[in-house]
Amino acid sequence: MKKMSFCILGLILFLGPLSIAFAQQPPTIAAVHPFTGPFAFAGIEGSAAMQDVVDMANEAGGINGKKIQYYWSDGEYKNDVGIAAFKRLYAQYTPQVMFGQSTGMTKALGPEIKSRYKVLYSAYTMTSEAANPKENPYLFIAAPTYAEQFGVLLKYIAKEKPGANIAFFYGDSEFGREPIPAGREMAKKMGLKVVAEEVSQVGGVDLTTQILDMKAKKVEYCIFQGFVSNPIATVIKQSKDYGLNAKFMGTFWSTEKQLIKELGPMAGEYVGVSAYSFFYQDDLPMVKKIKEWTKKKYPTIEYRSQAYMQNFLTGLLFVESFKRADKMKGGFTPDNMVKGLQSIKNYDVGGLMPPVTIKDNSIPVGRVYRGNAKTMQFDPISDWIRMD
């Protein structure tokens, strides 16, 4: 009897703290950033942005007094490393929210997130697969999908020059090819003619064939997809030598300072779509707040990229989902987190983008910007364009 009492006491002592730990599982975010590898330019900025959102939220009292925990690991922009990091972070911290590094990782983990992990998940990717609440209820993107970004550009072209000749110039990768089929359909619906499709490797330098082909097909607008800077800069520079008079456009990842720098005096030749405001638009309250925070915490940093803005906005939505889930019965359960996210309507993000309304687990809104060779910045040339 004495032994049994000891056993029961032991069990209580052992299980007691465990059950308390489960009950008090703090709001936790775990992320896999491509901190090294070819996408490190985004990973370094993204990891800092997520940390900043968490620190700001915790300074403001957390989630009803509960401090948000944030853990991250490097995924090297490799699928196997990223998946291993995801599983390691999940096993260590059991987060309610996770963030991934790429389209490949998101596609690979999608089925398991749905059936097993059940965590609210977003990523650097803007693939349509992550914006399909019927198939993947826990996945969302805090931006328009690549296809929707194409839609924003095509809408802009259709307004500027109805019936224009268009070329899609894309990278020979998943990132490059993803929105092309949807782009073809949208162009057809808007009465635009896709007269050429050019494919190149990332960083390709000899692009004469593609440029001459576009010239022969009288391309008026060329939309790039799947590149960050090169070969976009090369195509724009060389096209003048070959007499191709087209307007060049691109999606989110290429609409960045690096491309403007490479283009130099030709920066005005590039027009891109982005989902977020830029770091230098400091008349906007949230950008101003980020700028002040950066000055205080990282005095040597002078610029925050669009990757930072993407992660910052995703972080804001994570925090808001936590706040809404916390008010529901059961707290931070997977379904409550999804409900919390999907209930976000006209949520003011201080001008980082227009008031956010989640639709089909994405935010189908973007704005067209043109490069400015004098200021080396992007200037908005359209209002926010919605694709729903």
Binding site: S47, S73, V81, A84, E178
Partner: protein, 347 residues
């Protein structure tokens, strides 16, 4: 007192498990492998599965490169062929996963034999380039044969099942991986001590001399390509069934280099070397990741310096092994074994 392990006849020399000592440790290791899933968390089991796929692929490549001396840069493509074959057979034709695995191996073997044909005329660097073609041809096929491969979208694969039981977790899939690793390693270990294995080694050492001895180069070189690709196909099929998705981006060129690094670091011409190489190339980066995360959490703000450093450490380790032990981890293992075989009278 007998000290050491002395072979007194050829049968002893050819034995797979040469001594009681070996059998004891192998049995102990097998018990550990069986007990492992009951002790490990899903993350460790994920790593174990990845090591398993790498072991199967590396053993296959070692049979071709290490034993037969035919350098191949098409291994990732053969892994891809197996992966896509399995995915297509399971999702499109409703064939059972269990049947799709050997079929994937066979289709990969066929692809390997076709790509291996130039090995009859070219050697060394020239063969490298010839096999490199496989990487581009199959890579292009995976992307553009959309009606079969679904292009860049890829194919989602249901988890394997037996009756009502689904192998959809790291733990349950571990048993499948373990089974195929044991079968793959066991077959390779037997193969290298057979007539075919000796023919492979003879071709590697001097193909002209081998031909004069009566070894049919055409048959054995193509057999080496077929067997190696069969292993690659099985590894690929298992890998994507575990991931439950296959896209063309799973098989980049760098994967070929990683597999070559596995067999070189592990030890060319050694089955156990392939295992060591696969474990090394999979486990060390993961350990470095964990260590860098720990350091990062204790030194906030230093992530920018510490994290990229892990690649430097990993690269230095590979170079270090190649300089100080060019015959790979297998040779270090042999030295350790010899030390204990003769201990305490190692002189």
């Amino acid at each position: 007192m007998r000290c050491g392990d002395f072979k007194e006849n050829y049968i002893d020399d050819e034995a797979i498990f040469p001594s009681r000592f070996t059998r004891f440790w192998l049995a102990l290791f097998l018990i550990f492998l069986i007990a492992f899933p009951f002790m490990a968390n899903p993350h460790l089991l994920y790593i174990a599965n990845m090591i398993g796929f790498a072991v199967i692929g590396a053993v296959g490549l070692n049979l071709l490169t290490g034993f037969t001396g035919q350098i191949s840069l098409g291994h990732a493509a053969f892994i891809g062929v197996g992966a896509y074959t399995s995915a297509i057979l399971v999702t499109r034709y409703g064939i059972s996963f269990w049947l799709s695995i050997p079929l994937s191996g066979l289709v990969s073997a066929l692809a390997g034999m076709v790509i291996g044909i130039p090995s009859l005329r070219v050697k060394g660097l020239y063969l490298c380039i010839a096999t490199l073609a496989a990487q581009f041809i199959f890579g292009f096929t995976f992307v553009h044969w959309e009606s079969m491969t679904k292009g860049i979208t890829g194919i989602h694969i249901p988890p394997p099942a037996v009756g009502g039981f689904r192998f959809d977790t790291e733990k349950s899939f571990y048993w499948i991986t373990l089974l195929f690793v044991i079968l793959g390693v066991g077959y390779a270990r037997n193969l290298v001590r057979s007539k075919m294995g000796r023919a492979f080694v003879a071709i590697r050492d001097r193909d002209l001399a081998a031909e004069i001895m009566g070894i049919n180069l055409f048959r054995y070189k193509l057999s080496a390509f077929a067997i190696s690709s069969f292993y690659a196909g099985v590894a690929g099929a298992l890998w994507v069934s575990f991931l439950k998705v296959v896209t063309p981006e799973h098989f980049p060129f760098i994967l070929c280099i990683q597999y070559l690094a596995m067999v070189i670091v592990g030890g060319l011409g050694s089955v156990i070397g392939s295992i060591f190489g696969a474990v090394f190339m999979t486990l060390i980066p993961e350990i470095l990741n964990v260590l860098s995360d720990m350091v990062k959490s204790h030194a906030p703000g230093m992530g920018k310096l510490i994290i990229p450093f892990k690649s430097v450490v990993f690269g230095s380790m590979i170079v270090g092994f190649l300089i100080f032990e060019p015959r790979g981890l297998a040779e270090i293992w042999n030295r350790v074994k010899k030390f204990f075989t003769l201990w305490p009278f190692s002189y």
